[in-house]
Subunit: 351 residues, 2 copies
C-alpha cells in the first residue's frame, strides 16, 4: 500500500508538493445548487470529447434524480449496496447488470438506437445475459440439444438481404434453455461443456437448418438482487418461450434477435420487454415428406415440431445511414442543436 | 436449479399455465419511442408509492440518457462491465460504489439534501468509504493513533447547539489516515485491530479532546475501476489533509463532517468535492501552558500541533423543518407541482 502511494506521488501527474498549483478547476463550498456544473467542469479536462459528453449527461441526470426525489441518505446507501450485490453475484457465466438493464428496458432501448431496422428487415430483440463464446460449430441439420426431455424441433431458416438475395457465410449463434427452462450455464455441473447452443454458417443459398427442442417459458434468474427488485415492484420474472439468434458477417449490421412461440402465457408480459409481433412464430409439425427430405426421424410419440423463419439482414451501410438519420432527428426533437456526429456518435460542437 | 423454477411456478404469483391471463400491462412491440412509459407502467404495480416514484424517475433519466447520447451497444456493455468490476473489488472494508458516488458529486449532493444546515451550524462533508463500526471508545485525552511516524496533534473541541448551549452525551466517531495516507482498513495486515480511529462522548460541558496525528493528503483508492475512470477523465485522485467526524445523539440530526488543514495543495481541488471554507482550520502549536493543563508531553522535536474547533449541531426538529422547506422550494422550482411529502419524502399525489 505504501508503494502504491509512492508510485502515484512520483508520477508527477497526480502528486503535488505543498504550495504547488494544481492544474484543475477550483472546487470549494459546493452545495446542491452548484455541484452539478462543477462536477461536469472537472470531468471535462481530458481530450475524449465523447467521454466528456457521456459524463456530463450522466452527472446531470444522476444529480437531477437526487434533487427531484430528495433522495435520502438511507435510500442512497440502499441503492449503493444493491449495486455491490449485483456485482458480487456476477461471474463468468452470470451478468447481473445485463439483467438489471434488461428489466429496466435499457437493453431494448440501446439495441433499437444502435441497430435500427428498416421496415423490410428482421427486428431485433435483446441479447440477454446467457450468450457464451464457447458454442460448438455444427454442420447443417445437426442437433444442438442434449435434453431427452425436450420436445424435438426442426428449424429450417434462411438469411437474406432486404432485396431478397440470399446471404451466404453468415455466422449464426443460436441458444435456448433446456426443457426445465435453464441455460446450460445455469447448471452448477455444466463444467466446460456447452449444451443447447451452437454456431452455424449459412450456405450458398443463405439457408441453415438445425435440430433443437421446443423452447419453454422460464423465469429470469431471480435468486439475486434483480429478482428481489422485481418482487418489490410487484412484477413477475417470466420470459415467454423463445430461441436466441445473432447474425454476424463483415459489412452487415450485427443482428441480435429471438423468435417467440405464439400462445405463450407471457407473450405480452415479457419481464425484459423483448417480444415483437414480427418475431412471434407458429410452430407446425414435421410431415413425412419434410422428414424424408431432411433425414430426420419423427417416429417419437409427439412427433417433431417444425420452425420456419426467413431472417432479413441489413447492410452496415444501410444501418449506419439509418442510425445517423435517427440520431439527427432525435437530437433535434430533444432540442439538442449544439451537437454534431463524430464517428456516428453525438458530441458537443466546439464553441 | 430445477427446484428453483418449481418454487416460482408453484407460488401462483409468478407462474401461469398456458392460456391463463397474466395480471400485468401488455408489453409488445416496444421501441425507443414507447419503452419508457411502458417500463414505468409495469414498475407501478406495487403499493409502495415512494418506490414507484423513485423507479419512475430512475427509468426516465436512464432512458433519456441513452436517447440523448445515442448510447452505443459497445458503450453500454463497457458501462455494465465497469459496474461489475466496482462490485467485485468491493469488500467488507472497501465500497467502490460509495467511492464512485463520491467522485461523481452525488455523495455531497445527497448529504446536502438530507442534512441541510442552518447558517449558524457546522456544515457537512461526505462520509467517504472508510468509516467502520469497530473503533474503540476512548476516554477524554487518549491517543487514537499508533503511528510513531505521524506528527502528534492535540484536538480540543466542543459540541454546542445553535444557541450556544453545550450538548453533552454526543457519540462522536473520529477517523483519519496514518502518516503514509492510508486508513487502517487499507493495510492487508490490519487484522481486526482498528487504528487511527476512535469513538468519544462529549462531557457535561460539551467538550471532548483527544490525541491523534496531523492529517496528510492522500490519493483515494485508485487501483480499481473508479481510479481508472478518474485517469480517463484527466482528474487527479487526491484529497486534501483532513480528519473525519460524525456526531450522533437522539433528537439531534446526525452530522457527518470533516476538518481540512489550511494550506494543503489539494484544498481547492478535492477529488470528492468535500471541502467547505468553514471547515478549513489553522493548526497552532501546543504551548507550555496548554500542555501542562492537558497533561501532554510536547518534548518531541517538532512539538505538538493544536487543533481547536467548536462544532454546532442542529436538532432533528430544526433539520426536518429545513429539509421539508428545501424540498417544497426545490420541487416548485423544478415545476413538480403534482408531488406531496409523505414521511418528509416526495411521492406523486394520487389522481
Amino acid at each position: 500500500m505504501a508503494n502504491q502511494q509512492k508510485t502515484s506521488a512520483s508520477s508527477g501527474k497526480e502528486g503535488a508538493a505543498e504550495g504547488q498549483t494544481i492544474n484543475a478547476p477550483s472546487l470549494l463550498d459546493l452545495t446542491s445548487d452548484n455541484i452539478t456544473p462543477n462536477t461536469i467542469r472537472i470531468n471535462s479536462q481530458g481530450d475524449n470529447a465523447r467521454l466528456i459528453y457521456l459524463m456530463s449527461r450522466l452527472v446531470t441526470h444522476l444529480h437531477d434524480f437526487a434533487r427531484e426525489t430528495r433522495l435520502s441518505t438511507n435510500e442512497w446507501m440502499a441503492a449503493l449496496d444493491f449495486l455491490v450485490r449485483c456485482g458480487q453475484i456476477s461471474s463468468d457465466v452470470r451478468h447481473e447488470f445485463i439483467l438489471l438493464s434488461d428489466v429496466l428496458g435499457l437493453s431494448l432501448l440501446v439495441d433499437s438506437i444502435d441497430h435500427p431496422k428498416p421496415p423490410s428487415s428482421t427486428e431485433g430483440s435483446l441479447l440477454g445475459p446467457f450468450h457464451t463464446h464457447d458454442a460448438p460449430t455444427l454442420a447443417s441439420g445437426e442437433d444442438m440439444s442434449d435434453d431427452p426431455e425436450g420436445e424435438p424441433l426442426l428449424a429450417l431458416c434462411t438469411v437474406k438481404d432486404t432485396k431478397g438475395n440470399p446471404v451466404p457465410g453468415v455466422k449464426i449463434d443460436i441458444w435456448e434453455t433446456d426443457s426445465s427452462g435453464h441455460y446450460d450455464v445455469q447448471h452448477a455441473d455444466r463444467g466446460g461443456v456447452p449444451s443447447g447452443r451452437c454456431v452455424m454458417v449459412s450456405d450458398s443459398e443463405g439457408t441453415f437448418r438445425f435440430r433443437a427442442i421446443r423452447p419453454v417459458s422460464y423465469p429470469i434468474p431471480h435468486d439475486g438482487p434483480v429478482g428481489k427488485l422485481l418482487r418489490l415492484l410487484g412484477r413477475h420474472c417470466w420470459r415467454p418461450a423463445h430461441m436466441h439468434f445473432t447474425f454476424e458477417k463483415d459489412q452487415w449490421d450485427k443482428l441480435v434477435t429471438a423468435l417467440y412461440i405464439r400462445g405463450d402465457p407471457y407473450e405480452s408480459s415479457d419481464a425484459v420487454f423483448g417480444v415483437k409481433k414480427s418475431l412471434v412464430v407458429d410452430l407446425d409439425k414435421v410431415d413425412g415428406e419434410t422428414a424424408k427430405k431432411y433425414g430426420v426421424d419423427v417416429g417419437g410419440e409427439g412427433g417433431m415440431w417444425l420452425l420456419r423463419y426467413d431472417f432479413v439482414l441489413v447492410s452496415e451501410e444501410e444501418a449506419q445511414e439509418l442510425r445517423d438519420r435517427n440520431a439527427i432527428e432525435a437530437l433535434a426533437k430533444l432540442g439538442l442543436t449544439h451537437l454534431k456526429l463524430v464517428d456516428h456518435l453525438p458530441v458537443p460542437e466546439v464553441d
